[in-house]
């Protein structure tokens, strides 16, 4: 008798919950993974391609699919990596990013011919100038995507490490400081 009761009640419970789940999947259906959109919004959006994906959206898709680590975006740096890892609830291994030196593009003015090819390519308008005039880099806007380096016909554009001054200097991690004795 008890067995029958137990079987019936469990069956009813299973049916009811199954129905609920079915209804939920029907009424709360989402066309596409909203996470991808959200991740894409977090990315720099400069489509620079440094992550080896053709743009920020494909990179976001790869991240959500688990094909790429959260450290994939060099312009975003550690800050973005941490936010991405938080968003995706995955373990973050920053060790690969530890030695990443921030870079900035610089123009050798003696070589620049003012071809303006770099200006067209720069995703953040960090290169300013006019055709046949020497161009200049707005360091604050440069994301070190190095697209301009590839296109420059005279190789006057090069990436240089950002020079550390007192304003940019930070205390090293104590473990690093202790090891450096």
């Amino acid at each position: 008798m008890y067995i029958i009761f137990a079987a019936i009640s469990l069956a009813v419970l299973g049916l009811a919950l199954g129905f609920l789940l079915g209804a939920a999947s029907r009424y709360f259906k989402v066309e596409e993974n909203p996470l991808i959109d959200e991740i894409e919004r977090m990315m720099p959006g400069s489509q620079c391609g440094q992550c080896a994906y053709p743009g920020c959206r494909p990179a976001a898709e790869a991240l959500v699919a688990g094909e790429a680590p959260p450290t994939l975006c060099p312009p975003g740096g550690k800050a973005l990596a941490e936010r991405l890892a938080n968003k995706l609830s995955i373990e973050l291994d920053l060790s690969g990013m530890g030695d990443m030196v921030p870079l900035v593009a610089r123009i050798d003015e003696s070589l620049c011919i003012g071809c303006a090819r770099c200006i067209k390519l720069c995703p953040t308008d960090a290169l300013v100038g006019a055709p046949k005039m020497i161009h200049a880099v707005v360091a604050d806007a440069c994301i070190a995507c190095a697209k301009c380096v590839e296109v420059c016909p005279t190789e006057c554009l090069k990436m240089h490490p950002v020079k550390v001054n007192l304003r940019l200097w930070r205390w090293p991690k104590p473990e690093t400081a202790m090891a450096g004795a």
Binding site: W171, P172, P174, A177, M178, G180, A181
Partner: protein, 359 residues
Amino acid sequence: MNTRLLSAPFARSEIQIQSIMLTVVLGLAPGTAWGILIFGWSALFIFFVTVLSALAFEAGCLILAEKRVLPTLTDGSALLTGWLIALTLPPWAPWWIGVLGSFLGIVVGKQVFGGLGQNLFNPAMLARVALLVSFPLEMTAWVNPTPLFSSSAPGFLDAWAITFSGQLPADGATGATMLGWVKTEFSQGRLLGESLASGDYGFIKSFLGWTGGSLGETSALLFALGGGWLLKKQIITWHIPLAMLGTVALLASVLSLIDGERYPGPLFHLTSGALMLGAFFIATDYVTSPNSKPGQLIFGAGCGLIVYVIRTWGSYPEGVAFAVLLMNSLTPVIDHYVRPRIYGRDSKGRPLELPEGRE
């Protein structure tokens, strides 16, 4: 020239882990010596077996974990843990109880958590409770005081046999702790006054430590003095011991006033069992107690409450180990909710309001 780029301060206080541990050990020494004195050679043997095996297990774990052995082994933490485990054992316990206790305390209680500072539970109390539950017979085989060199005491070789050959003590030597005696008598329907008299209880005897029990359950006086010395040396603060002893004393006073024939008074409780040892040396363990002073007050009061409840209504005669372990499990919770108020902020961490019209 030291080229390490390190932040200030460049001055350091003298106090170090090693000095803290050694001070605690010194605070324990008088009570331990007294225990060894009244229980004879066997107590000395089990004490050394336990302490040495604790050091051996610590060294073994450090080698396995590929850590530097000597600096950690000499910081005194394993010595202290082994010492405390030894104090919780019956003085005539067989040698393997000591070795097993050290294994449980050092390996299971501390090193598997990641070593010093990482363990959630007090290693010594973990070892005691695990032994008590696993080997109730060996762990409750108490003997009456038989002082070293006295006629009733077993000689060196007899004591060696007791500890290392599993030879049981003669019938006349066994006895019970006062807490156990009162509990047994009460369960047989005898009233408190009667059982205390038949158990040959005396407050002075209990206070000085002329009583059966583990090494740490003997002299309330000597452990209290050792604890007072730790307070004076600023190794511990008054918060946990006072809260713990105060809670036990308060509960005992109230309940013995209500029914004096059922519940023993505060002096009986304070001088019996391992309460003094627990309040000054075990509950105050840094690693497993809360880090703020109000948190420590809560922790101490909780320990005292659980000790009293177990002693009075529980099935075990003594509850210090259980109380400490239970409160250890609450330490993270206490630390989460009880935090100091930050300067310029209210207790919830919001900035204080700017004074209006401050003229």
